[in-house]
């Protein structure tokens, strides 16, 4: 996935679409940002300067689906194999029904891409009607996170099977990329050198967050602002 921060206006359509697609639960008060469940979080960055040199930018953060050798930071630590990276697709999945809720993966993830179900998820009765059967609602006491909408991949593969196509060659779009009004999110197969994402990942504007940790995120960002680049990683200078 590549997210163009020059195009991103921080509107949040990606995050809303994600919540709706993935049956993310919500509560009357969502202002406790340390306990909220969000697969796609919007961070606000600023250049640290005074008015009128001040500038702000939004940075949407899905799960980075870290590609670090052998294990992602989170999959390495899960004691029960509830979160595993599928080496075929590169997607780091998290199976809520296997999760015992030890939160070790959350502790290990520097991107805060994982949220814990501190409460029993509860929807207003009338809104239960908008829950999608494509993604199973989680329960209290487990961790959840962005899955790159892998259920959409499964659907696409099934469609290919029925139509006699190669299920391994399918492309699909996750909810966030689909919703983005500015087309800032590009999704595709990074391993395919001809894909848009592979091309954009090599753009001079491209960077990843916390590269120095060698987590090898599979989410790239694009920005022409140096001050945004600078905040992508810790820097001693």
């Amino acid at each position: 996935m590549v997210i163009d921060l020059d195009k991103c206006t921080g509107c949040g359509a990606c995050a809303v679409a994600c919540q709706q697609e993935n049956n993310v639960s919500f509560r009357p008060d969502e202002s406790d940002k340390l306990r909220t469940i969000a697969w796609m979080t919007l961070y606000r960055l600023d250049n640290g300067k005074d008015y009128p040199e001040h500038r702000e930018a939004m940075l949407p953060r899905p799960c980075m689906q870290c590609d670090s050798p052998h294990h992602s930071p989170c999959t390495f630590v899960c004691p029960v194999n509830a979160t595993v990276r599928d080496e075929h697709t590169g997607i780091v999945d998290h199976i809520a029904v296997r999760c015992i809720g030890c939160r070790y993966c959350m502790v290990a993830c520097p991107y805060h891409a994982r949220s814990f179900n501190w409460w029993d998820p509860k929807w207003p009765k009338t809104m239960e009607a908008m829950l999608s059967p494509e993604v199973s609602p989680r329960m209290r006491g487990v961790v959840e996170k962005c899955t790159f909408c892998h259920h959409r991949l499964n659907r696409a593969r099934d469609r290919a099977r029925i139509n006699g196509e190669d299920p391994d060659g399918v492309v699909y779009t996750p909810a966030c990329a689909e919703a983005c009004p500015t087309g800032a999110i590009t999704f595709g197969n990074l391993r395919d050198p001809h894909s848009d994402v592979a091309r954009l990942a090599k753009d001079p504007r491209a960077f990843r967050i916390l590269e120095k940790l060698h987590t090898e995120p599979k989410v790239y960002y694009l920005s022409s602002d140096q001050w945004i680049h600078k905040q992508s990683d810790n820097d001693l200078s």
């Binding site: 340390l34 004691p79 029960v80 015992i100 290990a108 814990f116 329960m139 905040q231």
Partner: protein, 413 residues
């Protein structure tokens, strides 16, 4: 009935006083159980934990208490294993029972608290059934539960020494046989404990995307693996000694020879010194190589309320000072200084465990992220305090009804 259970030739406080004491402890336990049930029924939102602080007081206390409970394995190791080569270690015989009991309390208590910490306790057994061999937590789960079983087995012969139980012939024989093979269990326990103390250290150390906690290491283990084991050895017996001293104060009796304390002091002093040197080297390497590799400098890791004072307290006040005290024969002779040193030793290790869990998580890794502060709630304090009360119950009962101090009769004629 009560009288009949008390070991021969020793004096214990009157039953009503003991009963009252038990009542107080049970009240605390009841409070903890209530808190625990609240957590289990309502969910973890009653705690102060959050998405940034996935680990908090529960884990911190668990890590701390297990390190302190290391007296069991390490005293056992010294007594059953090393005393062949260093006869002076035979002296530990006088305190080994207490070490086992304290260890038993620490480990079983920690397991109970751990049950609260996981979001889905009914799936806790997945840890055994669906184990991920790469996870340090898997190592922890297996080793701790195995070691807890070992401790139970080690505790049983002590229980069987109760006057009434000992009178039952088969039990007596059983207990005796157990005693015979105790060395095997002690060594098994030692092996397990070496391992899981280390894997507890591995828990933070392997988090390669968490610059505060991550350490490079040897083979599959990060340095924290070895440091945790070493630090546990350097504080476990000290903690046993502290408990013993506390019991002496409460009962106003001398329970072990003072030489035992001094021996422990000497051992702990040496171990703590070794630990401190290694920990210092580790810290330096981490601060000067590992962290800069991540683009961070030491001062980036410390910000109020988790300021630099933590490092000073851990390594300076609770590290260097006890080492000096313990390695100075004159200081070892002075009760106040000796036990102060033991206390600082234990406190330093607990601070270490706090830093490796809570502080490690407060640090924003993404530069645009925020520092977060963690404040535990009553639902976290209560079970932890109750766990201490539970330990007190076990120790009190054991002391009252079991002959755990072989020298008690002689020392208190």
């Amino acid at each position: 009935m009560d009288k009949a259970l008390i070991p021969e030739g020793v004096k214990r406080c009157p039953l009503p006083v003991f009963g009252l004491w038990m009542l107080v402890l049970f009240a605390v336990i009841a409070w903890g159980v209530y808190a625990g049930l609240t957590v289990l029924i309502k969910g973890l939102h009653v705690t102060g934990l959050n998405n940034y602080f996935g680990f908090g007081l529960y884990i911190c206390v668990d890590l701390g208490i297990i390190a302190l409970g290391a007296g069991a394995f390490f005293s056992g190791f010294m007594y059953y294993g090393l005393s062949r080569f260093f006869p002076q270690l035979k002296e530990l015989h006088k305190i080994i029972n207490l070490a086992v009991i304290v260890g038993f309390c620490c480990y079983t208590g920690a397991l109970l608290v751990l049950l609260l910490e996981i979001g889905q306790p009914l799936r806790g057994w997945f840890g055994y059934w669906h184990a991920n061999v790469h996870s340090m937590l898997t190592e922890v789960i297996f080793c701790i539960s195995c070691y807890a079983i070992v401790l139970v087995i080690e505790f049983v012969p002590i229980i069987l020494e109760n006057r009434k139980l000992d009178a039952v012939k088969p039990l007596h024989i059983f207990g005796h046989n157990l005693h015979e093979i105790m060395a095997i269990f002690a060594m098994t326990g030692t092996f397990l404990s070496f391992f899981h103390q280390g894997s507890l250290g591995g828990v933070p150390g392997v988090m390669f995307a968490r610059p505060f906690a991550y350490r490079e290491g040897f083979f599959v283990w990060p340095w924290t693996f070895f440091l945790f084991t070493l630090s546990a050895m350097a504080c476990g017996p000290a903690f046993t000694a502290l408990i013993c001293r506390l019991m002496e104060k409460v009962t106003r009796k001398q329970l072990v020879d003072r030489s035992v304390y001094e021996l422990i002091g000497k051992i702990e002093g040496v171990l703590l010194l070794i630990y401190l040197i290694l920990k210092g080297l580790d810290t330096l390497y981490w601060a000067l190589d590992t962290a800069p590799g991540f683009g961070l400098k030491l001062s980036d890791f410390y910000k109020e309320p988790y300021g630099m004072w933590l490092l000073v307290a851990e390594l300076g006040i609770c590290g260097v000072i006890p080492v000096i005290l313990l390695l100075t024969p004159q200081a070892r002779k002075v009760n106040g200084l000796l036990f102060l040193a033991f206390f600082l030793d234990c406190a330093g290790i607990v601070i270490n465990r706090f830093a490796m869990t809570v502080e490690a998580l407060a640090i924003p890794v993404m530069p645009f992220d925020q520092w977060a502060v963690y404040i535990p709630t009553w639902a976290e304090w209560a079970p932890c305090i109750a766990m201490l009360a539970y330990g007190a119950v076990i120790v009190s009962l054991s002391y009252r009804y079991l002959p755990i101090f072989p020298r008690e009769r002689e020392l208190n004629p």
